[in-house]
């Protein structure tokens, strides 16, 4: 089996106590069904999982790391976007 014949898949797992699926890693598998089985075997060995998603890595549209200045730099100077300027009243307690 060559690398070419076994596509890459990204694995997302929703933990028992979690609300959202989180990316946990990737693996190779011949098709979706095998990817799901492999994900079960590779990433859920300690009984922590409630649900698995597998997505072909090729289906993920990623931002270009070379463009990170254009994409993300402008947000760095806008500290007022962080909700850190509010006084939280004592009575509210932990947020």
């Amino acid at each position: 089996m060559t690398e070419k014949a076994t596509p890459l898949w990204e694995v997302f797992i929703r933990p028992r106590n979690g609300l959202a699926h989180r990316h946990v890693g990737s693996l190779h598998a011949v098709d979706a069904e095998m990817a799901l089985q492999n994900a079960r075997d590779v990433y859920t060995r300690r009984g922590e999982t409630f649900s698995i998603w597998v997505v072909p890595s090729a289906a993920i549209i990623a931002s270009d790391p070379g463009e990170k200045d254009v994409m993300f730099e402008p947000t760095a100077s806008k500290i007022y976007r962080h909700p850190t300027f509010y006084e939280v009243p004592e009575e509210v307690g932990h947020m």
């Binding site: 190779h28 011949v30 095998m34 089985q37 492999n38 590779v42 060995r45």
Partner: protein, 254 residues
């Protein structure tokens, strides 16, 4: 010392445990040698499921017989003739298709076995069987999906898959042979008569063969002897490796 159990219930559970242990050890031989890292982990998981089943079966058998034996004595201090595993499970791993075909055949037999055993009148046995059935459902799926992809894959993978079934089919009739012990434990509601499992096995295998576009091998007179302790040459070699540490350093612990 390590004689055959005098309690029929224990003797019967030890048979099941022996098959699970030997197949579990066989699968563990793939560690670091599987075609991909994903499959390497998968095979180790399957091996650990089987060894976990073995421990539960052996422990309960030892409790039933009350002869002071424990699971380690059963696994590491018995010689080939005392093992009562099916001949199928001691066959060497061969290539990946051989291993998957062997596993499919075993899982298609073990799943209905444990499903039926979940109705045992022994609550502990019923519990072990329920858990094991769940595990074997996954084993059947994993091995089945692989055989489908190998059979319906390239010309080479198809040849190897078909050849694997042809080679291993001689060990199929033994799975469903019942002897006096099987009938005795089945009659009391403790165990299961393996001859009743054939229809479920055939249905599971046929479903995979159809999707894999593979031919069902012609069933000739099978090879048997595992239930009597008469084994193929392969078991002794395997035990030599598996039991080495406890034989060389008896009672060694971590």
């Amino acid at each position: 010392m390590t004689q055959t159990s005098t309690d029929p219930r224990a003797a019967w559970l030890i048979r099941l445990g022996d098959s699970a242990l030997i197949l579990g050890h066989r699968l563990s031989e793939w560690s670091s040698r599987a075609p991909t890292i994903e499959e390497d982990i998968a095979l180790s998981n399957l091996a650990l499921d089987l060894i976990g089943q073995t421990r539960a079966l052996y422990s309960h058998a030892c409790a039933l017989e009350g002869q002071g034996r424990n699971e380690d004595v059963l696994a590491y201090r018995r010689a080939e003739p005392e093992f009562r595993n099916l001949l199928l499970v001691e066959q060497p791993n061969g290539n990946f298709a051989d291993t998957m075909a062997r596993h499919l055949i075993f899982a298609a037999y073990a799943l209905p076995l444990y499903e039926a055993l979940a109705g045992s009148n022994d609550a502990e046995v019923a519990g072990i069987a329920t858990r094991s059935a769940r595990e074997m459902t996954y084993h059947l799926r994993h091995a089945g999906e692989w055989m489908i992809r190998l059979g319906d894959g390239t010309a080479e993978s198809r040849d190897k898959a078909q050849e694997a079934f042809e080679d291993l089919w001689a060990y199929v009739p033994e799975l469903f042979e019942a002897d006096d012990l099987d009938r005795k434990v089945a009659a009391t509601g403790f165990g299961v008569d393996p001859s009743t499992l054939r229809p479920a096995f055939d249905a599971a295998i046929d479903a995979v063969l159809a999707r894999a576009t593979l031919k069902r091998p012609v069933e000739r007179h099978g090879i048997s002897g595992g239930r009597k302790g008469v084994h193929s040459e392969h078991l002794g070699h395997m035990l030599a490796t598996m039991q080495y540490l406890q034989r060389a350093y008896p009672d060694a612990v971590w």
